[in-house]
Amino acid sequence: MVNITINGKVVRATEGEMLLDVIRREGINIPTLCQHDALEPAGNCRLCMVEITRTEWDGWKKYVTSCLYPVEEGLIVSTHTSELHEIRKTILDLLLANSPHSDVLQKMAEEYGLHKTSYEPNLEGDNCIMCYACTRICEVLGKSAISPVMRGHEKVIAPPFGEEPPDCIGCLACAHICPTNVITWTDENLTRTIWKKKFELIACEKCGKATISRDFAEYLIEKRGLPKEYFNTCDDCKRVELAQKMGALVDKAKEVAL
């Protein structure tokens, strides 16, 4: 265990733990866009920057992204100085300039007193903020079906060559994790379309309701050793099945008792 000081309060933390986790545990609110507990920290959005110093640094201080900074004994952290406010406000201002229609960004910017961007808004811009959450989650699945392509301001998230991604299994993790809801998909009857690729959705063999994509189910069966028959019915029908089994057991016990 190590002792660090956050906004003047001494806090105990486990060595190697990331600063952001400790700060949040203390109930201090720091905005983030690229951080997600299921992912390794990436430091793309820079919103979680904090000011750090140490007694022996003699007044020298530096700004670090707390999501990737491992805590160490004697660290003195400030999370809400006027300079940090300015940094976060400027970052939100820049993001809002590129994605003026994003309600997520608008809401965050409002909290920093920004009602509209100070820059010329890109009215055709989409809401992607390049947090890489989608590509990182795809990497966790071991698929990496999509990735960032091009450089700088031209960078986009795309499947290889902009074609149907061969490794995509249609799990929608990328779409769900996206903080600004840019990744779209459609489920029509038993067909899911995402990244222009079509997937067959498994239909519940009892009621016909669509569940997950067949590719995703096969992936789980193979990777996680789950029995294939678990995926044949939907959750509603499986609950009824359970009730019937339990009921049958009860009735049988009664009969035996009689």
Partner: protein, 137 residues
């Protein structure tokens, strides 16, 4: 000390008080959550309350690629870490008893029985004591 649900279907009237208790005890953002327990009729006028069995070798835990489902050693429940969940629905599809659910009222979050942290509200409110949470062993 171990606890377990004792279910007596003969006492269950299908009144769905357990559902209400569950939904309200899981209220968030001023909205009741989706109930994690359902009394289901297995025969005409015969009901049994169905909820997560907290399986030992749980399919939901295995199916989660992001480590969002973990056994809570204190309560014995398999808890969902909402901060890690990506809502990919793998657990919903994988649970053989259909007890991982989607809460449409809360942005399609995944929900499942968490034993209310060790003191299940459903058992408290069951008017006929068809559902009792009791010490075993």
């Amino acid at each position: 000390m171990k606890f377990q649900f004792e279910v007596k279907p003969s006492l269950c009237t299908g009144c769905r008080t357990c559902e209400l208790a569950c939904a309200f005890s899981h209220t968030r953002d001023k909205k009741p959550g989706r109930s994690r327990i359902y009394p289901i009729a297995y025969a005409p006028d015969k009901f049994v309350p169905v909820a997560c069995l907290q399986c030992d070798d749980a399919a939901c835990v295995k199916s989660c690629m992001f480590g969002a489902l973990k056994r809570n050693e204190t309560t014995g429940a398999i808890d969902l870490d909402r901060e890690r969940c990506v809502k990919c629905m793998a657990c919903v599809a994988a649970c053989p008893f259909g007890c991982a659910l989607v809460d449409e009222g809360h942005d399609n979050e995944i929900v499942k029985c968490d034993l209310c942290g060790g003191d299940p509200a459903c058992a408290h409110f069951c008017p006929t004591k068809a559902l009792v949470y009791k010490k075993i062993g």
